[in-house]
Symmetry: C2
Subunit: 340 residues, 2 copies
DNA sequence: CTGAAAGCGCTTACAG
DNA sequence: CTGAAAGCGCTTACAG
C-alpha cells in the first residue's frame, strides 16, 4: 500500500528514542518509563504504525494463533456440515479471541486435503480438531501428528489417547431418560450404537441405560447403520421400529440429526409425536427449533465448549494438562415430548 | 518441540549444497537442476524440515492468508448466527484452500471486538466480510478500513462503494414469483422491505414485482420491522396479514429465517400451508428441510459464492477488478408450495 | 546452474 | 531506564 513500510525505526526517529525502546514500549515492557511510553505511542499513532507480526513471530517463535480443523465426510459440501460443528466452531473462535489468539480455520475431508503441519511451518501454536468421526482416515492422519508431538485437542475423539473435551454425555443421557419417564413414557428405545467411533454415543447409551435400570425399565437399543448419513440413520431406525411392530412409546436419538431423520419418518408413517411416540435428541441444534413438532433435545453449553477446548489447548502448549473435560448440558424442552 | 529447529542450513549441509539453493529448490524455482532439487527434497524429508512461514513472509511481504470476518448482531451467541453465514463461511474457506490460501476467521459484534488491521500487521493479504447487515457500527468500521485502502470484498454489502458479491436476487425473485404463479397462487405478498441495509432485499422485491407485473398482478409488500430478529419479523408479518383479513394466498419471504418465523405463526393461526397459503423463502438454509412442511426456497450456489468472493479478493490484491458479482441461484422445491 | 551476502522488521540479551 | 548489536530463518538480487 505504501512505498516504504513504516517500521519501528521510523517511530523511534519521530519519538526521539532508540528502536529497541520503541519495541519495549509497544510490547508493554514495564521497564520503560511512562513518559517514554506515551511519547512512543503518540509517534506510532501519528505514523499509523503497526507491528509486522511476521517479524515478531520469527523472533519470538510464538504465533498467537490456533488452528481449527473441521473434519468433513469425504465429498461433503461445506453447506451440509452438521450445524453442531458450526456452532462449536463459532464458539471456539470466540473463546480464542477472548484469549487474544487468532484462529486459522480449515475444512478437510479427502486424503489429498488432509494437512496439519501448522506448528512445523510456524503458522500456529496448536490444533483443535472437531467434526465428523465417520472420516476415519482424517482422524488417523491427525493421530499421526499427535503421536509426533503436535499440540492437539479435539472434540469427541475416536481415540482414547487424545486430549479431548466432550459433553457430559452420561449426565445428559440421564437427563433425557428422566425427562421421558417423567412425562409418562415407559417403553423407551435408544436410537444409536455402542460401537461408534463417536465415543460419545456409547456414553449416552450408558447414562440412558443406567437411569432406566434405576426405574426398573429394561433399556433397548436400535442399532444405527453408520455408513449412512445421520438423517438416513434416523429414518432407517424408525423403519426398523415399525417393522418390529412399534415396541416403544419413546425414542432417545443419539444426536439431533438422527432425531430429525427419525421425526421425518415417524410423520411419514403417520405416527403422532409426541402423543403416540415421544422423541428427544442430543446436541441442541438450531434446526430442531423449526421441525414439527420442534425437537426436544439435550444441549451442551456451547460457550463452555469453546472455552474449554481453547483453555485445554493453551494449557498443553504451556506444558500443563488442564483439568476440565466435560461440558455441562441442559434439557432444551421443546414439543416432541408430552407436556407434564 | 526440538532443541534446535531444523533450518534450511541444516538441509543444505545434508544435501551438500548452499542454503540459497535449498530455498530455490523448495520454492520450485525452475532454475535449479532436477538432480539438485531431488537431493534437496530428500534431505528435507530425512530431516523432517519445514519452511518457517514467518521468515518467508517477512521476506516476501506476502502472507498467503485471507481474513474472513463474520459480523454478528451485538451480543448474539455464536451458535445463533444465521446458518446461511456458516454455509458461506465454509464455502469461502474451501475456495481459499483451493487457491492455496489459509483463512483467518473471526466473529465480531460489539464495538470493542471490532478489529480488522490484518494487512497492517501483515497477518493477511486481504479481508472478506460477511454477516448481519443489522450491525451498522461494524459495517461502518470496515468501511473506514476500506476507505483507508484495505483490500476488502464482502457479501451483500450495505454500501454501494464496496466490492461485493451477491446472489442473483433479481433472477431468484423472478423464479420465486414464477413458481408461485405456476402453482396457482395469485394474491402474493412479499414479506420484506425496500429499505433494508440488506440491499439484497430490495433487489428481491424488484425482481418479484417485475414478474408479477408481467402477469398483470399488483405486487404487495408487507413491511418487516428490522429491529427484531428475523424470525420475529416473520411472525409479526403474518400477524399483520391476519389482522388485515388475509389479503393473500401466498407469501414470498425475503429470506429463510423470516420464512421460518412466518411458517410458525401461520401454523399457530391454523392456516394450512401450502393449501391455504403458499410460502417460499430465499437462501436455501438447511433448517428449512426440517420444517413442516419443509420450506421451498431459492438457493444460491454456495460453492460459487465462496469461489467468487475469494477470486474477487485475489483479483483486488493483484491490482485487478474481477468481473463476476452475481451468484447463480436455483429453485429448491420442497413442500411449502402446492404441487404442480 | 550455484554460492556468498544482504536484508525483511522485529525482540532480547548485554552494557551502561 | 535506555541504546547498540545480534539474530530469528528465510528470499532474492548480484556474481560467477
Amino acid at each position: 500500500m505504501r512505498q516504504h513500510r513504516v517500521t519501528s525505526f521510523d517511530v523511534a526517529a519521530r519519538a526521539g528514542v532508540s528502536q529497541s525502546t520503541v519495541s519495549r514500549a509497544l510490547t508493554g515492557d514495564p521497564v520503560v518509563s511512562e513518559a517514554t511510553r506515551a511519547r512512543v505511542m503518540e509517534a506510532a499513532r501519528e505514523l499509523n504504525y503497526h507491528v509486522d507480526e511476521n517479524a515478531a513471530r520469527l523472533r519470538t517463535g510464538k504465533t498467537g494463533t490456533l488452528a481449527v480443523v473441521v473434519i468433513c465426510r469425504p465429498g461433503e459440501l461445506r453447506k451440509d456440515v452438521n450445524p453442531f460443528y458450526y456452532s462449536l466452531l463459532g464458539s471456539i473462535c470466540a473463546a480464542a479471541s477472548a484469549c487474544d489468539y487468532e484462529t486459522l480455520v480449515s475444512f478437510q475431508d479427502t486424503a489429498e486435503s488432509l494437512w496439519g503441519l501448522y506448528e512445523e511451518q510456524r503458522k500456529a501454536d496448536g490444533l483443535i480438531i472437531i467434526g465428523s468421526t465417520a472420516n476415519r482416515q482424517a482422524w488417523d492422519y491427525f493421530r499421526g501428528l499427535h503421536d509426533a508431538g503436535a499440540h492437539l485437542v479435539c472434540w469427541g475423539s475416536p481415540f482414547d489417547d487424545f486430549d479431548w473435551i466432550r459433553s457430559d454425555n452420561h449426565g445428559g443421557a440421564r437427563l433425557a431418560a428422566s425427562h421421558l419417564i417423567e412425562r409418562g413414557y415407559r417403553r423407551i428405545v435408544y436410537l444409536g450404537t455402542e460401537h461408534s467411533p463417536q465415543r460419545q454415543f456409547k456414553e449416552r447409551w450408558e447414562g440412558f441405560a443406567e437411569r432406566l435400570h434405576e426405574e426398573g425399565i429394561e433399556p433397548k437399543l436400535v442399532e444405527i447403520d453408520e455408513t449412512l448419513s445421520r438423517e438416513e440413520q434416523g429414518r432407517k431406525g424408525v423403519q426398523a421400529l415399525a417393522e418390529a411392530g412399534w415396541p416403544c412409546d419413546a425414542i432417545f436419538a443419539a444426536c439431533d440429526e438422527i432425531a430429525l431423520g427419525a421425526l421425518e419418518e415417524l410423520k411419514h408413517l403417520g405416527k403422532q409425536v409426541p402423543s403416540e411416540i415421544g422423541l428427544i435428541g442430543f446436541d441442541g441444534n438450531r434446526g430442531g427449533a423449526h421441525s414439527s413438532p420442534p425437537l426436544t433435545s439435550i444441549e451442551p453449553d456451547f460457550e463452555s465448549a469453546g472455552t474449554m477446548l481453547v483453555k485445554k489447548l493453551l494449557a498443553l502448549i504451556g506444558g500443563n494438562e488442564g483439568d476440565e473435560r466435560r461440558v455441562p448440558v441442559r434439557l432444551l424442552e421443546r414439543e416432541s415430548t408430552r407436556k407434564a
